[in-house]
Amino acid sequence: MAAPKVAVVGAGVIGLSTALCIAETCPGCSVTVLSEQFSPNTTSDVAAGMLIPHTYPGTPIHVQKQWFKETFAYLFAISNSAEASEAGIHLVSGWQVFKNTPKEELPFWSDVVLGFRPMSKAELQKFPQHRFGQAFTTLKCDCPPYLLWLEKRLKATGVQMYTRKVADLWELHSEYNGVVNCAGIGARQLVGDEKLFPIRGQVLKVHAPWVKNFIRDGDGLTYIYPGIHRVTLGGTREKESWSLSPDPGTTKDIFDRCCTLEPSLRGAQDIEVKVGLRPSRQHVRLQREVLSQGGVQLPVVHNYGHGAGGFSVHRGTAKEAARLVGECIAALQGSSSRAKL
């Protein structure tokens, strides 16, 4: 069998990082990225890209922790290199504050981020409405820079990228030996997954370069994440809302909530409003499947449904997806006499 041809559908952080992992682990493969949208128009571009994991109810904690650890280690190395600014990766310290003491005082990821500890009384004085808090240092992946950097790395390894709306994975069966589905929220339509639903998030991206620390309310609804050029202010979590249009009332509400946490934001300039649909699921769909029609088979690896936690686990799930692709290819090569090219 000639070089196995793998198509990755989707060019957000999941699609691009998965394509890169496949190119890294399977140098003999020919990898192509197909996506309706590329940066700056993906869901990933709206996200702040903070490495603070979302907990998936349906995935064992040790697996989530492994994904996060791998992602953190990978980005930590980049942040410490000359490529950091191009890749958009940087360290940021700050506080997660709670109005009521959380049930779990130590989240599963507390020993992966840096310097995790409870906030002191003096630190909490800055947040009069909050009674408890955690201080730590973590990483942030700014988009578009990170996606553009991934695209550059992909091109350097010979991966091709095309703008193309894939309506049905089967349409790829004649051109590719295997397909990786990183379509994010698009998987709802692409593979008809009713368990996947959007959680709409509206954010503001503002110019406030004096904000150097992140602040996050433990309820996950209000957050301030300083990026390289802009600070992301959030947010909302609207289940089952498909609207991509910014809502002005929501904008004012987000701004007010963030100014309550950080009064100096009143002086923020240049407010841009963005909306993204978190591709949410009880657990990330990370598994193999074989589609077949009329004796022809098309192996598929699914890697979607990362919801609010895509950036936090992207490298870990990409590596797992690449491993599954490796299994598919091995299976194909084992039965290459029956595989159709």
Partner: protein, 347 residues
Amino acid sequence: MRVAIIGAGVIGLSTALCIHEQYHSLVPSLEMEVYADRYTPHTTSDGAAGLWQPYLSDHGNLQETLWNKETFDYLLGHLGSPAAKEMGLFLISGYNLFTQPVPDPSWKNIVLGFRNLTPKELELFPGYSYGWFNTALMLECRSYLPWLTNKLTQRGVKFFHKKVESFQEMFAQGMDVVINCTGVRAGELQPDPELQPGRGQVIKVLAPWVKHFIITHDIESGIYNSPYVIPGSEFTVLGGIYQHGNWNEENSTQDHKTIWENCCRLLPALQKAKIVEEWSGLRPARPWVRLERETVRHGHFQAEVIHNYGHGGFGITIHWGCAMAAARLFGSILQEKKLASPPQPRL
């Protein structure tokens, strides 16, 4: 009551404001004037990155530690106010790095969240085996000095662009009290062998991805002679030069090389940073701050000088505590004048 402040750096302007705020209602005749040969953005204060951080050791000088604390608490109180942005005031977290364990600093309970670095964090800084993390404040003088100037102008304080040659010159003009905030050139008004320049040089770059300050320490070379990176609201300041006794305000190519190479080794990502400006300045170094009254004979009269200079590389860090101490000295001068018999005639 005519008061002249000589010097318009962070010390001069803050002392002026502190005194005016406290006494203008008590002394209706208070007329305040500021004299300086350099104003923002050309003062020594303007070159500083603006990080609140005292030296590692206070050498038992508890008074200075107290002034540092008063300054920190005063600024912290202003953080939530609408003035913060205009003042150039914001919170910032960061790292102090050492090649060996050191005792905790006098200011560990003044800053927020002081702790030692974890082994994982130290991996970020090869060559350093010990360190601290804490959250402190930035006060950028290119915003703070104009803010102080505005407040003073609103209060009717007058400004004069003039190099004052002697205290006598001020008294001859009718000043009752002169506040000497002349920083590194105080020796020109009154010789002071304890006052020496601590020359520094910095490179300002665009590196907006840097969100933490990083100050390294080399016990052998001494304070500020080891690389540091301090991100401001617009530029990031790279430094690490402290030359005692060097009066040269010109940028040195050798120092540029030292700063650039050392900082890029510390933070490889800086190699991609765009250099915007280079600046040299003279820290007004003294074994301790000179903050005291002096009665100066002037013909038949006596006039008062309040000295407030010699804040080395921690002027911003200590400024408000010193301003308040200077204001207290001013208060004691007022007390004495009230107790004195009929007001002395002017020349």
